[in-house]
């Protein structure tokens, strides 16, 4: 239909491809995609590291869990837009505020997933580790972490999807580069071909992350299964 209509609102695939190609050649698309990816990597890493650590602690400590449980529910349900605006208002339109806004939005999600995983840890295996006097590091790396792997992968996949969406809003509201900023620009110019070209790049990157990183990680962690 787009092929026949070929209007500005519904551009033909060839036109989208042409815009995509031009943006790549001019370096605009790689630059903005790169900036967004960098923000994604930083905020995702911080959220996952903190979230896994806190999730394990809360999953293993009933008192701390009872204390933070309500706060977690609150942070899980605060609209992303609120935290983004508050971060920008309180800390200024700076990079660290943008990253912090993304982390705050993602963190409760990781904590809850890992906490649930920690609650299901096999006590028999933990007892085995204890009576053989395995060090805390050995127990974490070889006994606890492999059991948490499915939960970490779930947090990773849902987290990436969530962070992509939040980063674009963060960029749209307070940054002068990145995919979100560019999409906002295209929106103001009613440039649907531009929006679609950037979306194609976005989908390609997601597929690349899935195929090059997540799938091999999955295979590696399931190698022992029949």
């Amino acid at each position: 239909m787009a092929f026949y209509l070929n209007s500005n609102i519904l551009p033909a695939p060839a036109r989208v491809a042409s815009v995509f190609w031009q943006s790549c050649l001019s370096g605009q698309l790689p630059y903005h995609l790169g900036v967004t990816l960098l923000r994604l990597v930083i905020s995702f890493s911080i959220a996952m590291l903190l979230g896994c650590g806190l999730g394990i602690v809360l999953g293993r400590n009933k008192k701390l869990d009872a204390f933070f449980d309500n706060w977690l529910v609150i942070f899980l349900n605060v609209p992303a837009l609120v935290t983004i605006i508050l971060c920008y208002v309180w800390f200024g339109l700076v990079e660290s505020a943008a990253i912090m806004a993304v982390v705050i939005n993602k963190l409760p999600n990781v904590i809850v997933t890992i906490r649930e995983g920690t609650r299901t840890l096999d006590q028999d295996l933990l007892d085995m580790a204890r009576c053989y006097h395995l060090s805390k590091r050995k127990t974490l790396v070889h006994v606890i972490w492999p059991q948490l792997h499915p939960f970490v992968m779930a947090a990773t996949r849902s987290g990436l999807a969530l962070i992509w969406k939040i980063i674009l809003v963060v960029e749209l509201l307070g940054r002068s580069n990145g995919m979100g900023y560019q999409l906002h620009l295209f929106f103001q110019l009613f440039d649907v071909a531009g929006i679609m070209a950037y979306t194609i790049a976005f989908v390609a990157v997601i597929q690349l992350i899935e195929l090059a990183i997540l799938k091999p990680l999955d295979r590696q962690s399931r190698r022992w299964r029949r």
């Binding site: 085995m128 009576c131 053989y132 006097h133 006994v143 492999p146 022992w224 029949r226």
Partner: protein
């Protein structure tokens, strides 16, 4: 050589909801002599696993003391659980390596694998092992740490008779090569007679020692079924109370 003295005054499980508190162990005194193979025989649910968990320091909530030599301490243990508790994401060899320090792993593991006939399967993941093989791996893991006490909680309970017999023979072979103090929990009096230097009979909860009997059958005659059965009959005749415990 170190003697281990176990004195447990009481072990109480606190009340949970409608179930009242439960006195599991009361005034239990047990001395383990060095390199002695002791079988604990008692009725189901009497608290044998609780006792092993206390010795293994998995359950610190009890009143009493454990003395190793002259020191109040928990002995270094190797625990062979009812379920082998192998990490499914680590191969046989990796499971054993995990409980050892990095140095001298091969020196320790290779001969153990050979004695337990698992050299060929050392790089296999536990899911691909038979039940009997998994038990053998858990036996190797327990011997590998060179423990002061080996705790065995009905390790052959879910094996079919021929497999149980095979694993039992391998265990005895290993134990004779590397003598250790063993506490072996079982329901099976025949198994206890085949394995033990001394059999300790335990009461129903609250658990305490009812009687201790030394098995006089020489080690090289332990595969003689007739000798084992005759001693069993003799035991049941001399100690009619034992029947209630089995």
């Amino acid at each position: 050589m170190t003697h281990i003295q176990i004195n447990i005054n009481s072990k109480i499980y606190p009340a949970v909801q409608k179930a009242g508190q439960h006195l599991a162990i009361a005034d239990l005194k047990l001395t383990l002599h060095s390199n002695e193979f002791i079988c604990l025989v008692g009725p189901s649910g009497c608290g044998k696993t609780t006792l092993l968990n206390i010795i293994a320091d998995l359950d610190p909530d009890y009143e009493g003391e454990i003395i190793v030599g002259r020191q109040h301490a928990h002995p270094k243990i190797g625990y062979i659980f009812q379920n082998p508790r192998l990490l499914p994401w680590r191969t046989v060899r990796e499971n054993i390596e995990l409980v050892l320090e990095s140095k001298q792993r091969a020196d320790i593991i290779d001969p153990l694998l050979e004695t337990m006939q698992l050299t060929q399967s050392q790089h296999v993941y536990p899911e691909r092992l038979s039940v009997g093989m998994s038990r053998r791996v858990s036996i190797i893991r327990a011997f590998a740490v060179d423990p002061e006490v080996l705790l065995m909680d009905e390790p052959f309970v879910s094996l079919d008779a021929p497999t149980a017999r095979q694993v039992r023979e391998l265990l005895l072979k290993l134990w004779q090569q590397r003598p250790h103090t063993v506490l072996f929990v079982t329901h099976d009096l025949r198994e206890a007679i085949a394995l033990a230097d001394r059999i300790v009979f335990l009461s129903a909860a609250p658990m305490h020692v009812i009687s201790e009997i030394t098995v006089p059958i020489p080690r090289n005659d332990r595969d003689n079924e007739a000798a084992l059965e005759s001693f069993r009959q003799q035991l049941l005749q001399n100690y009619p109370d034992i029947k209630k415990l089995l």
